[in-house]
């Protein structure tokens, strides 16, 4: 199926959904203007980006609006991280964009280690062989460069949206088209309730990722971001260039690619924000009542053991 190339108008579309899709006649409960669906949490940012929580969306309508699209999922399994692929892909088959066309783009330095798992119809695994780096920080940071390269080379022609994920995780509940937007970020589970002064932004002005103490909307997680291919391309190019500039200045941002992601999303507001339902760590955090679902969660790992070997 020939994919029509997205026009440059995507550029300033990042604040509104582009193109009005037609939906067939559907039956679903009616929303009530005087009855907010969630009263315990903020469901929309001050720049009108929906914050996605359970209860705010109707999947029947959204699936109808997003039919006939292909979603690309990027995941990096370098060195010992290949061990996470099986559970990641198996749970993705159960929970990620079910009913839609999905391309799993698995970036790895060991193509033979990518497990064969049974896939639903319309879904495929594409293995992309890439180099590894000695330091885990470099592996993490070079994801931006690799995603930007492949965006140009193939993603633009193959998928409508890109979802860029960490691999040492598993899906435990529905993650669907409600997340799709020209540009989206996810609230880091450790900081959703915090003040901007306490966010672990890069605070040294020398770095390209620098954010002053009185600025910042949210602390976004480096392990779950995405959007339309042109927007993800812009984001990853910008972050990669910023990291190169930092390297030339002899500085490395405190949380690496995540610091640069945060800087980018401060200056290019995302059109949707995913709640911590979409990225959680049960080992590190106590689950509060406002989290009705845990959709994508950390898999326990021994950090020292798995990195740098």
């Amino acid at each position: 199926m020939q994919l029509e190339k997205k026009e440059s108008s995507e550029g300033d579309c990042h604040l509104d959904t582009c193109r009005i899709p037609e939906v067939p006649r559907l039956l679903y409960p009616k929303a009530q203007l005087l009855k907010p669906t969630r009263v315990d949490v903020l469901v929309m940012t001050p720049w009108f980006a929906p914050i996605i929580w359970d209860g705010t969306f109707d999947s029947a309508i959204l699936d109808a609006q997003f039919r006939n699209i292909t979603i690309g999922l990027t995941v990096f399994a370098i060195k010992k991280y290949v061990v996470f692929l099986k559970l990641f892909l198996e749970t993705a088959e159960k929970h990620f964009m079910v009913g839609h066309k999905v391309n799993y783009y698995v970036f790895t330095d060991q193509p033979a280690a990518v497990p064969q798992i049974p896939l639903q119809e319309g879904r495929q695994v594409v293995v992309l062989e890439v180099r590894n780096y000695k330091r885990w920080q470099d592996i993490s940071m070079h994801r931006m460069e690799m995603i930007s390269n492949f965006s140009q080379r193939r993603f633009l022609r193959e998928v409508h949206y890109l979802v860029c994920l960490d691999v040492d995780m598993k899906f435990s509940d529905h993650v669907g088209v409600e997340i799709l937007a020209p540009l989206f970020g996810t609230l880091h589970p450790g900081f959703y309730a915090g003040d901007r002064q306490s966010f672990t932004y890069e605070r040294r002005p020398l770095s390209q990722a620098y954010i002053p103490r009185d600025e910042g909307d949210f602390y976004y997680a480096g392990g779950f971001f995405g959007g339309s291919v042109p927007e993800v391309y812009r984001l990853t190019v910008a972050c990669h260039q910023a990291m190169m500039a930092d390297q030339a200045n002899g500085i490395e941002a405190v949380w690496h690619d995540e610091s640069h992601l945060n800087r980018y999303l401060l200056h290019h507001k995302p059109s949707k924000v995913l709640s911590p339902e979409y990225l959680w760590d049960e080992q590190m955090l106590q689950r509060p009542p406002l989290l009705r679902k845990l959709r994508y969660v950390a898999v326990p790992k021994n950090h020292a053991e798995i990195r740098n070997r």
Binding site: L33, P36, P46, K269
Partner: protein, 325 residues
Amino acid sequence: MHCPRLALGLGFCLLVGMALCSLCNMKLQYKGEKPFQPVTPSQYPQPKLLKQKPTEFLTLTPWLAPIVSEGTFEPELLRHIYQPLNLTVGVTVFAVGKYTQFVQRFLESAEQFFMQGFRVHYYVFTNDPTAVPRVRLGSGRLVSTIPILRHSRWEEISTRRMQSISQHIAERAHREVDYLFCLNVDMVFRNPWGPETLGDLVAAVHPGYFAVPRQQFPYERRPLSTAFVADGEGDFYYGGAVFGGRVAEVYEFTRGCHMGILADKANGIMAAWQEESHLNRRFISHKPSKVLSPEYLWDDRKPQPPSLKLIRFSTLDKDTDWLRS
């Protein structure tokens, strides 16, 4: 398709359809697609994720379109985001016959409250350009009068608006504006109406039906009409007096409504609330990307409920029988 006669018949119908629909496949070159613009930081409070006070109105539709009301947005932040884009916002109003008397108050109040700091182009559709008063406009804002025919029945005038708007976009507005709002002229702005209203396709909740179940919405209920809405369907009842969006989307929307109105005409039926019925039908299958709360479309005859924090755009009390005679 294996049946040649069927193919021939369909081909013929397609040709006829295309001939009838003069604006059908016209490819429009829209006014400058804007390159991506970063936002320079501005001072505004950090969004509070864990809310203490619930908002009065629902702020998101089930398809994740924002519902705009006071308190849901930061005007400064939005200005910061939208100002660098150098947008031009168009407005269409229809002032036919005695309705020309509303133009002055409409324009004067718009000059005070509508899209301050933006380039604005008002298009006043009228059968009598001489009856359109000259109103003092701020810099970067202009009025054009667009001549249209006056029809004998007010319902006729009303249902031809969709056609007039889509034609006007194709002929002119697509080159001149980025966003277009289609508003009723017998109204007045009372409070700021700004870039919080901009979106791909924007609808406004009708002030008379926002607290009422869908079965009581005054949809067209006769299956013969293209505006027919069945009992279990419907999100909100939207007002015909306010809609808008990106000029390309408004073009598709008005054209779609016009097609429905034409089909009804051919079948000898006129929908219960004329083009408002068709607008509501279309907004079910082409859901708006942004919904304006009743702040943006109010009826002054109604008492102001506590959930309504301010009124930005409302009807003028008027003698409709006389106006339509």
